[in-house]
């Protein structure tokens, strides 16, 4: 098997990366209002948010993909395979990120809220200056490991025809009849993408740790 057989696989790389980052970004942003609703004083809002999180996380990602692409996509809301994949995985990561943020938020010492109240900082400054930075700092390692998980999850998008790594791997294995080698290389590419993410997260974490550790 030559490099010429393997190079076409790399055409899928930008799609895998785009899908991963797009979905993660949606999740990281949408997770915040979802958490805000989850922590809200209003009971209906809290119930709604909890229901959304449970339903989104309870259904397998591949099924979400089918619901959005074949369900909504045919007829109601014409959508490209890539668009459907970003939307579905973005939705799933929003629910998961909301849970990651919630865990991080719960770890903030109650004294931080009290000091903010005593200093009269007000709700907005308490959130933006005090609570959010500490929450993100705590959420960082879990978010990074979720990002790696999400990157691998994007492989399901090949089932609806998104031309990402696994899609091309599948194509090449059928062209060359060398499934083992081809899929081993595809696997290796996933590992190679995950390494810098893990490495960066560890560096950022130990930098922040050194700054604030007691």
């Amino acid at each position: 098997m030559s490099a010429a057989d393997l190079l076409p696989i790399l055409r899928g790389l930008p799609w895998t990366l785009g899908l991963t980052l797009g979905a993660f970004l949606i999740g990281a942003l949408l997770g915040m209002p979802l958490l805000a609703a989850r922590q809200s004083r209003s009971v209906p809002l809290r119930g709604l948010s909890m229901t959304i999180i449970q339903i989104v996380r309870g259904i397998p990602p591949i099924l979400w993909l089918f619901i959005v692409f074949f369900g909504l996509g045919t007829g109601y809301l014409p959508i490209s395979p890539f668009g459907a994949a970003v939307a579905s995985l973005g939705l799933i990561s929003a629910a998961n990120m909301a849970e990651i943020y919630r865990g991080a938020l719960a770890s903030i010492h109650p004294g931080q809220w009290e000091a903010s109240s005593a200093l009269n900082l007000g709700r907005w400054s308490t959130l933006v200056d005090i609570v959010a930075p500490q929450t993100f700092r705590v959420a960082l390692p879990s978010a990074a490991s979720y990002l790696i998980g999400l990157m691998k999850e994007t492989a399901v998008a090949s089932t609806i025809g998104v031309t990402e790594l696994t899609f091309y791997g599948n194509q090449q294995s059928q062209l060359t009849f060398r499934g083992l080698e081809v899929f081993a290389v595809v696997g290796l590419i996933y590992v190679l993408i995950s390494l810098p993410v893990a490495w960066l997260s560890r560096i950022a974490d130990s930098y922040l740790q050194a700054k604030v550790a007691r």
Binding site: G111, L119, G122, D129, A213
Partner: protein, 291 residues
């Protein structure tokens, strides 16, 4: 309930009328405006608690507390744990909203009967600084930022103004060289002194201290107590919940002993500490001295 209040300095013949006038005004939700000080006229208390109560479930933590604190007075609150000392302190700045009674600080009165609006809370807290047992510095900010942030957000000072004031205060608490450090790099005593500077930076009229040295080993506690003594000498009004008996006796003007959510005894510090009248006070002080 008036029986609980010991005669504090500055209390004049006018006091009863004034107290009545105030509670009537408070009951009607009217805020009294601070009158200009007239020479010879009795001073109005800076802080007045009327019939203050707090319950958790069926448990009464504060049982109709009446208290007046004059401007410049240093009050030490001592007593066994669970007696409501900290809760009393936290009700004064509404960290715990009381269930009954009135809190008056300067010219603002809040009634527990009506839920306080955020504007009212902000006005009340504007004049009250608080120092916690566990310091509660913001760990993700430098010492300088810890002290400057609220000045910018609450008082609208520019960053430059705020940092100048912060540096001035840091020097006053003996930490001029720590401005760029993160709290984690400071000892407990240093962190507590930063916390004091952080509160002072907002120019409060009164400072509340909730067991400020209880989380510190004795040596580090001393440097915090030294700062508090200096603060008391500058005329700051202070209410200090403490287990430091020498602070209560030597620095504070007034000592108040609490047990079971009530004020058991209150009076000039040396008198209460050396010659307690109430049986509960005697028992508590004996236990402290026997340690």
């Amino acid at each position: 309930m008036g029986g609980a209040g010991y005669c504090v300095q500055g209390e004049g013949p006018n006091m009863t009328d004034r107290g009545y006038e105030k509670s009537v005004a408070a009951a009607r939700g009217v805020r009294l405006v601070e009158e200009p000080a007239i020479a010879g006229a009795p001073k109005r208390p800076l802080i007045q608690l009327d019939n203050l109560s707090k319950r958790y479930g069926g448990h009464t933590v504060l049982d109709s507390i009446d208290l007046e604190v004059m401007s410049g007075e240093v009050v030490a609150i001592i007593g066994p744990s669970g007696s409501g000392k900290s809760t009393l302190l936290r009700c004064i700045n509404y960290l715990e909203p009381p269930d009954g009674g009135f809190v008056t600080i300067g010219d603002i009165t809040l009634s527990a009967a009506m839920p306080a609006s955020s504007t009212e809370l902000a006005r009340l807290r504007r004049s009250v600084g608080m120092v916690f047992q566990s310091f509660n510095l913001f760990p993700h900010m430098t010492v300088l930022r810890n002290i400057s942030l609220a000045q910018e957000r609450v008082l609208g000072r520019s960053r430059k103004e705020a940092e100048e004031r912060s540096m001035q205060l840091l020097k006053r608490v003996g930490l001029g060289d720590k401005a760029g450090q993160y709290p984690a790099r400071c000892s407990g005593g240093q962190q507590q002194r930063v916390a004091i500077a952080r509160s002072l930076a907002l120019d409060p009229q009164v400072m509340l201290f909730d067991e400020p040295t209880s989380a510190l080993d004795p040596e580090l506690g001393l440097e915090v107590l030294a700062v508090m003594r200096e603060l008391a000498e500058t005329g700051m009004t202070m209410i200090v919940v403490t287990h430091e008996m020498s602070f209560a006796e030597n620095v504070s003007d007034t000592v108040m002993i609490m047990a079971d959510g009530r004020i058991v005894e209150k009076g000039p510090s040396t008198e209460v500490m050396r010659n307690p009248q109430h049986e509960r006070t005697k028992r508590f002080l004996r236990a402290v001295h026997d340690r």
